[in-house]
């Protein structure tokens, strides 16, 4: 076998590929089954959201944020309105804050369910995908009732929310929380103790805490390494300081920890929703805000804990009704940067497991 000539194989994976979850393209070099190099090519879904925002009034930017992380659009809305409110020192009404929290956390459950479903589908388990989407559908139905949209909600406004909860909506949310708590153990049982699943994720795609911090990661990717950082806890915004919830942490930073953190976060989000339902009271949903929103001149940053990490909005204003520059700190984009490092030297067969666990949404990567 000594004289056998071997060659590196360059494989182009994506942008049209079933397991890159959207239009991500990876140029991968493989030596046999080992990945020697990986080069993510971005930009297939680039729409120039940041540039477009410079020509839009602040309220008009909200629907554009829906298109960033389109499976967690509530948090994107929240990031923008929160940043503008902080900059202008507007205090939204209490009821609006609670409605925001309920919707963001429901959206977090939906987003994590989508992660669980598609991740397991990538690993070849077909049924969890359908179960997860079954439950996710119920959340989307709730969103349709409150804001009329399934994915691009355009729900929040500067100073409050657009729509109050329709009659009976809060009760159906409570029913859903109970339903979800009944369902979760079943989803867990299907995969959690499965030997094949364990073999595919435990110890795969490990990263250390130092690496995660050096790459500026946030969200579950960072927490899976055991670093306790959740914007909701560490820099409370909105009314998150009024709720009692835990931040699930991993230990080793492998794919299994990332999977498990997602499962735990669903439970925690349900906890928050339930407490919010207990505390919410009737009242106005919009605070008094000026007719034309003008952020005073200056630079402002504020971030929220979106589904995939810290979604930050950096506003440079000249005191006009449009931002001079709007920069989005997009967690998916930043979390993706570590992918080549994780893939190098790994088996080709682990690629899908690692890419899936990084949990990116290409809409947010490319913005």
């Amino acid at each position: 076998m000594a004289g056998l000539r071997t060659e590196e194989l360059t494989m182009n994976i994506g942008p049209q590929h079933p397991s890159t979850h959207g239009v991500l393209r990876l140029v991968v070099k493989v030596d046999g089954e080992i990945i020697t190099d990986c080069d993510p090519v971005l930009g297939y879904l680039h729409r120039g959201t940041e540039k477009l925002a410079e020509d839009l009034q602040y309220t008009q930017i909200i629907p554009y944020t829906d298109r960033l992380d389109y499976v967690g659009a509530m948090a994107n809305n929240h990031a923008l309105v929160n940043a503008v409110e902080k900059a202008m020192d507007i205090q939204p009404t209490d009821r609006a804050e609670y409605l925001r929290v309920i919707n963001v956390e429901l959206n977090r459950v939906a987003s994590h369910l989508l992660f669980l479903g598609t991740y397991l589908l990538d690993l070849g388990a077909m049924s969890p995908f359908l179960y997860a989407f079954h439950a996710r559908e119920k959340i989307l139905d709730l969103f349709v009732k409150i804001c009329g949209a399934r994915l691009t909600y355009n729900y929040m406004r500067i100073g409050g929310v657009k729509w109050d909860a329709p009659e009976g909506w809060l009760e159906s949310v409570r029913e859903f929380v109970q339903y979800m708590r009944d369902q979760m153990p079943m989803y867990d049982e299907l995969v959690h103790g499965n030997e094949i699943f364990h073999n595919r994720v435990i110890g795969v795609g490990k990263m250390t805490q130092e690496e995660a911090i050096a790459y500026g990661m946030s969200g579950i990717n960072l927490r899976s390494t055991g670093f306790n950082w959740d914007v909701r806890k560490n820099k409370p915004y909105s009314v998150y300081d009024r709720f009692d919830f835990d931040v699930p942490l991993g230990k080793t930073g492998d794919c299994y920890d990332r999977y498990w953190c997602h499962v735990r976060e669903i439970w925690e989000s349900l906890k928050i929703v339930e407490q919010a339902l207990d505390q919410i009271e009737p009242g106005p949903i919009m605070a008094k805000v000026p007719k034309i929103i003008r952020v005073p001149a200056g630079e402002y940053y504020s971030g929220v804990e979106a589904m995939r990490g810290e979604l930050g909005v950096y506003i440079v204003s000249e005191g006009k009704d449009k931002p001079y520059r709007l920069k989005l700190h997009r967690p998916s984009f930043i979390n993706l940067q570590i992918l080549p490092k994780l893939l190098k030297g790994n088996l080709m067969a682990n690629m899908v497991a690692i890419l899936g666990a990084t949990d990116i949404v290409v809409g947010e990567v490319d913005a």
């Binding site: 388990a125 049924s127 359908l130 179960y131 094949i196 595919r200 088996l347 682990n350």
Partner: protein, 332 residues
Amino acid sequence: MEFFNWTNNQLDLPTVLAMVIGAVIVLAFTLGFVTYAIYFERKIIGWMQWRIGPNRVGPLGLFQTIADVLKLLLKEDVVPAKADKVLFVIAPIIAFVPSFMVLAVIPFTSQHYFTAMSNVGILYYIALSATTILGVLLGGWASNNKYALIGGMRSAAQMIAYEVPLAMSMLGVILLAGSMNFVEIVEAQQNFPYVWYIVPQFLGFCIFLISATAELNRTPFDLPEAESELVAGYFVEYTGFRFAFYMLAEYVYVLAMSAIAVILFFGGWSGPFLPDWLWFALKVSAFVFFFFWVRASMPRIRTDQLLSFAWKVLIPLSLLNLVLTAVVKALT
């Protein structure tokens, strides 16, 4: 029914006619089975996943598979420009012809109408079914596509690796029955001690079942055709009827492998009250259902783990099973 027992007859006109009729009946039966196995699979998995499954074409969606096959027939037959054209065309044929040929030795009933009573039935089955690997490997190679090539290589590695424990798990049964003839194996299970071979050969059966799942490319061993990083696998460039050939071969093997599991370990057609062909059909259907059931509940194993499982776990176990069976056989 001496008429159909053509292997022992002279090759005259009635015998030839009987051969043709027999072959046509087996073919029709198999195609019917494949058509409804696919429908059955989609329905079963659909119900397991809170879906309805096909229900639009015909009553209860019964014509869905027929419509799918018709669609495949009407599709443009694409041969990639850079492909090795001859190999590309014959690869699916190499893959699917043996799948029908193995049916010749499977006794569906105690009379084994239409099928040959070969004294080397098991050997014939193993030898022919191994030929299919060639079709898979050639298909992957001839497509001149990186995904297809890697997929074909992996499939070949997988099928060869699992062929070994599969054959060795059958050896235990051969030792007990003292025959490689499927009919005699079934008859041996009706003699003393009146139990099906699943009881004395339980370990062998487990090995057989795992290897059979891997041979059939079914979940959790369905890497050759579903591995997500390879898009599909060796047949990624195939369209239309050539693609259908690969799929057809796969489902015919599901039938053949289930039939062999029933013959070797579950007493073939034997059973009380019901007619023997019905018993056989019931047992085979139970196995087919098992394969579908596993598909709805398992993730996919990784390729290197798959191979090390075959070489490091299944083959030593099947050797152990063989030795134990031989010792027991020698002592009794």
